[in-house]
Symmetry: C2
Subunit: 228 residues, 2 copies
Amino acid sequence: MAGIALYELAGAEDDRRFSPFCWRIHLALLHKGLAFETIPWRFTEKERIAVSGSEKVPVLEDGATVVPDSWAIAEYLDATYPDRPLLDSPMAKAEARFIGAWTERVLQGDLFRLIVTDIEAHLHEKDRAYFRSSREARLGTTLEVFCNRSLEPLRGDLGPLRHSLIAQPFLSGAAPAWADYMVFGAFQWARCVSPLQLLEPSDPVWQWRERMLDAFDGAGRAAKGYAA
Amino acid sequence: MAGIALYELAGAEDDRRFSPFCWRIHLALLHKGLAFETIPWRFTEKERIAVSGSEKVPVLEDGATVVPDSWAIAEYLDATYPDRPLLDSPMAKAEARFIGAWTERVLQGDLFRLIVTDIEAHLHEKDRAYFRSSREARLGTTLEVFCNRSLEPLRGDLGPLRHSLIAQPFLSGAAPAWADYMVFGAFQWARCVSPLQLLEPSDPVWQWRERMLDAFDGAGRAAKGYAA
């Protein structure tokens, strides 16, 4: 196809786009100022993205080029469209791996436990059995038993994020970039499916999230989800 | 004074240099290839560094310039000696704040609980009462009650570090730099006072620590401490 298209995980409604990894790329494309369309996709539509070699989104199509995996897409975007870099140096890229690993292993771990039943409630009907069986196999228990609404682990684990956001407005410095998109993607995942209020307005993390929700003409804030 | 001098926290022996924050700067100076001398200092010698405006080390003297605080010293070194940067871009610097905050709040938190009585055992006699009373006031309990030798919290919290070191040899990429010195400083703190074996040799974090111990002609490995 001509132009850029991003396959994004959608819920029951086509416009409930809740994948944290897709949000990374959505914001990265806005960061680059590139025109793109998004294509709603569900967990069970693996054949629709088979050409990418991946079974998961995000998948980016750019003309004849197809790139899966959010990290690989970020690298592709910086290599292909070097203006407005997502990562402005080799060291910035290497360090971002740590922030990405923390996002996936700590932050998204805490959030998954808080919102797992909210995710399931917002899935497209055709994805529900797949989601439940694949996640329950991984967790070794039911979604309902695994789900825990205590905010304490999350708020404790946010310490390093909070501390860096006291020193500077964004994780990437004076303006948001890839590190911010990775972490914000996790919060946007929660916001799109769950009414839980994760943060207090006095928290520097809340204030950073407000700045991120306002970025790019409020793209994050306009997403179908909850106001919390 | 002429030349560069680094005040480093020392234990009972002048050459037991166990401060994680001083290790950051020690390695940063080796990274820059700068000649420097180190000056042993104890917790209770606050008047000896009063000119810095700080009550803690590291304090760097560079001719007539005196700089306290490891982060400020790293900034000073990159500004004054721009060859071989510790942080190679504005984004690398901003992201390093997160890694530093994680090091101080998560990694050093876990290590402190593991080694706090080992630290006390290796202090200079004149520092012991100060260390115990200041730390026990902060902890709200005795060092002995607070100390816990379980390795589980540490090994779990190392997940993001482990994951990024599977992707690349150093946190900073192909070669070590500031992010590595911050995290390695924490491990060196433990190594200099405690015989506890914190890691398994099969752990990518162990393997990275080996590379760091070998760096700069084995400066970290040669430090007075334990082999674990």
